[in-house]
């Protein structure tokens, strides 16, 4: 339709494809090329290859300079970024502070999905061509790293192409076209079919990869993706279905690469509901309001069994709402409640449910790896201690509306602390008393509420001293653990498959960074 010349070019390329053409497949096509329109891992992960932020995250999620070479706090009022000089966009335009200001205005506009990143920002001032200040409403030590995915595009390019603002319900030039500063530029974009990237010769950094051309194809059906990898039609797939991983690994020429994601899978409870929604034998109050009952659930679930049988050991049990790789992880609360059905039964009896009760467990079946199977396993384990879960697993498109409508007695949730990969993130979204105005507790479906946690959160957010901050995070982790506000289960694994001649890096945020790929 568009791009008539491309097919002919492709025919030529396919016959003389050099060894460094790298083809990869994933389940989801990035739905847009606009870096500010949609805030999802599929989009931001992909666009990290073509756009850049002021900072970028290295292989261990630590911040390093990208378009900014350095940054420093302006007392407690904000942050000053010193921009890299001599950087050009893919179309050759020079990168300056004006582009940062423009991108800030674009990314924080009403139609942008990234606006919440800039909630702490009161003002942005261009100091000179290569210096820009982000002023804060309150001290915010994590702000620079929290905007690592804030991508900068060229002001003139966006304005000339009528893409000055991202659009959700209309077509936009930036939906299909890219003009970033990243290591790769977009050569071809056919939504849902194929996206082709080629190295950007004018990139400011030294290229560590040896790719000359990279093709991404979305393949929804996991079995087809595995077949494409085994037959050598693609060089890498993400993910490999867990049940196929062992078989894939045994084949010559391909490898399975395991890692852990930054996503914690947990169980949540209704903390305020008077009665259970499903199952009538518990009466008032709703048993999950009693911390002993929640503790019984924690002791009843054999997480080791889940990780070894359902995840081949690739998932790791976890004790809190973030994984050990995250900033602010509480080492002092690294212990999980032991698997102990007898203790669980005793706790239930103590809470007044010696004969158990029945309730409804809500679960998605297409959101997390093996989610429905995990819920089935949990149902079985809870039955062992006498509480009878009626499992209702559903597609995620139906799942969130159900949770928002409070239609659950227990639910499964996965949480990855986007932005700064810090322990503060789940406290803000999952453990704060819901407050629409302050954008707090927006995923706290069970209305968990603890005055001390609410009091600590703003202090954590503005504390500059690392040790004092960690002490407060430890305290919150302790409260959540003692009250069993959630029952954290395991860290979701990353299971990727690649040809043997591919070297790559798995970052825990499940972003696939092309500039770390080597084709041997």
């Amino acid at each position: 339709m568009r791009l008539p010349a491309i097919a002919a070019t492709l025919a030529l390329l396919a016959t003389s494809a050099p060894a460094e053409t790298f083809r990869w497949a994933g389940t989801t096509d990035p739905q847009t090329m606009d870096p500010h329109a949609v805030n999802t891992a599929a989009v931001l992960g992909f666009l990290n290859n073509v756009y850049e932020g002021l900072l970028r995250l290295d292989k261990d999620l630590n911040a390093e300079g990208a378009l900014a070479t350095s940054w420093e706090p302006l007392g407690t009022d904000g942050w000053r970024f010193h921009l890299r000089e001599g950087v050009t966009f893919h179309d050759g335009a020079a990168f300056t502070a004006e582009d940062v200001l423009f991108s800030y205005e674009r990314a924080s506009s009403e139609t942008a999905d990234t606006a919440s990143w800039f909630a702490p920002v009161s003002e942005v001032r261009v100091v000179d061509e290569y210096t820009i200040d982000f002023m804060m409403r309150a001290p915010n030590p994590l702000f620079p790293v929290s905007i690592a995915n804030f991508m900068i595009l060229d002001k003139d390019w966006a304005e000339q192409n009528n893409a000055a603002r991202p659009a959700k319900d209309a077509e936009n030039f930036a939906t299909l076209n890219v003009n970033g500063t990243g290591a790769f530029r977009l050569e071809e974009r056919q939504p849902g079919l194929k996206t082709v990237l080629v190295p950007f010769e004018g990139w400011w950094d030294e290229a560590m990869h040896n790719i000359t051309r990279a093709e991404f194809t979305p393949i929804q059906n996991p079995a087809t993706a595995v077949a494409a990898l085994l037959s050598g039609e693609v060089d890498m797939i993400n993910p490999v279905p867990i049940q196929d991983a062992a078989r894939v690994n045994e084949r010559d020429g391909v490898q399975v690469i395991d890692g852990v994601e930054s996503r914690v899978i947990m169980l949540g409870f209704p903390h305020q509901a008077e009665t259970l929604k499903y199952g009538g034998d518990a009466g008032e109050p709703n048993p999950f309001r009693d911390a002993r009952v929640r503790a019984a659930v924690a002791h009843a679930i054999n997480v080791e069994a889940i990780t070894t049988t359902l995840f081949r050991g690739a998932a790791k049990p976890v004790s809190q709402l973030v994984t050990p790789a995250m900033r602010g992880y509480s080492e002092t609360h690294a212990e999980r409640p032991a698997f102990d059905p007898e203790a669980a039964k005793a706790l239930l009896a103590e809470a007044g449910y010696p004969n158990g009760f029945s309730f409804g467990l809500k679960c998605p079946n297409d959101r997390y790896i093996n989610d429905a199977a995990v819920c089935q396993a949990i149902t079985g384990m809870l039955a062992q201690v006498g509480i009878d879960a009626q499992l209702d697993a559903m597609p995620v498109a139906n799942y969130w509306p159900e949770l928002r409508a409070d239609n659950f007695d227990m639910f499964l949730l996965g949480w990855s602390p986007g932005g700064a990969f810090d322990a503060e993130h789940p406290v803000r979204f999952l453990a704060s008393t819901p407050n629409e105005e302050k954008r707090l507790g927006s995923w706290n479906f069970g209305d968990y509420s603890n005055a001390r946690v609410d009091e600590l959160l703003p202090l954590i957010q503005s504390e500059i001293d690392e040790d004092a901050r960690q002490a407060m995070l430890d305290e919150v982790a302790g409260i959540l653990q003692d009250e069993h506000a959630y029952v954290p289960l395991y860290v979701q694994p990353l299971v990727w498959g690649a040809r043997d001649n591919i070297e790559l890096t798995q970052r825990p945020d499940n972003f696939f960074i092309l500039r770390w790929v080597t084709v041997n």
Binding site: M1, N39, S116, T175, T224, A227, S231, E436, R439, S442
Partner: protein, 327 residues
């Protein structure tokens, strides 16, 4: 004749409107698109704002009316997922589905009729028994399983054919075709077999039983008694009279081929409208789902209409009866 056509067209429009109404009343059971459109950091206010912006807070008959209003002007709205006009997206994807459907349709009809006639004529031959037995596979195995088996055999183990996609396509400006490149043709083979196998066995079994029925009739005996050659008896007299019911079924099956391409397209990551529809369901992309369902029902209704009209030309008795009734 004209009255008959008008009557059928009016019926068709009513059917289309009803299909649309049912579809729109079902969409809310598919789920809520809002969560897919907003990121992790959305608030309740963001959700309400977007819901209002998209008109999802209105009752479904209102949403349906708005869709119809746009649709009659050729405007199917903007995809929630891709943020691009639905008509553009469907126009991009349609060639892939239509080429796949055409190839599997031709395969199914050609092999179906040939094998059907063969097994009817040689109905006690060993070859016929083998064909009939293997055809059971085509009827009984689910499409996705056949697809996966073919992929593992021909793509993974033998490495002869690609496991997914359409290969290289040539862009003609208004149409992309895979017919003009070697890789495009190779990519067509497995999906076309997967999609056409069921239809082929169906046509074959239908032709066979119809043909056996016809061969028992008196006029065939008389034809033989007159000393006509076998070929003339089978193909001039018997086959022609076998075709009326076969055409009905083939016509309806052509619609089914396009509609059921969904499964084949998913298995082979074939970039057609079926795959688009599956994506749309997962994302609750209502504009795409609505446009696809309307297109498919337009197609089914249209094919039915054409098949009805074709009877007229193939079966002279219908014309005579109608003519007599009109007098």
């Amino acid at each position: 004749m004209l009255a008959y056509i008008i009557q059928r067209v009016v019926q068709s429009v009513v059917v289309l409107l009803l299909v649309g109404l049912v579809a729109f009343s079902m969409f809310r059971f598919v789920g809520d698109p809002i969560d897919n459109m907003l990121g992790q950091e959305r608030t309740g206010a963001d959700i309400e704002r977007l819901r209002g912006q998209l008109g999802l807070d209105q009752p479904f008959p209102v949403q349906y009316y708005k869709f119809l209003e746009g649709a009659v002007q050729g405007n199917f709205g903007v995809s929630y997922r891709q943020g691009r006009p639905v008509s553009e997206i469907i126009a991009e994807r349609a060639p892939a589905t239509l080429e796949l459907a055409a190839v599997s349709g031709v395969l199914a009809i050609a092999f179906g009729i040939a094998l059907g006639v063969f097994t009817a004529i040689r109905r006690n031959g060993i070859a016929s028994h083998v064909i009939m037995a293997t055809s059971l596979i085509g009827v009984s195995l689910p499409t996705f399983l056949i697809g996966i088996l073919l992929i593992y055999l021909f793509a993974v183990e033998l490495g002869w054919l690609p496991s997914f996609g359409r290969g290289e396509v040539v862009d003609l400006g208004w149409w992309t075709t895979g017919f003009l490149t070697a890789s495009g043709l190779k990519a067509l083979i497995l999906p076309a077999i997967t999609l056409g196998l069921y239809q082929m066995t169906l046509i074959m079994r239908l032709v066979r039983s119809e043909m056996l029925e016809v061969l028992r009739q008196d006029y065939i005996r008389f034809a033989r008694a007159r000393g006509l050659r076998d070929r003339s008896v089978y193909f001039r007299h018997a086959l022609k009279n076998t075709m009326v019911p076969v055409i009905t079924v083939v016509g309806l099956q052509l619609g089914a081929i396009i509609a059921f391409a969904i499964i084949t397209e998913t298995v082979f990551q074939w970039p057609g409208v079926g795959l688009l529809f599956i994506n749309a369901i997962q994302f609750v992309d209502i504009p795409v789902m609505a446009a696809y369902l309307m297109l498919i029902s337009v197609m089914f209704v249209g094919i039915n209409l054409i098949v009805d009209l074709l009877y007229y030309f193939i079966d002279p008795r219908l014309r005579v009866d109608r003519g007599a009734a009109a007098k």
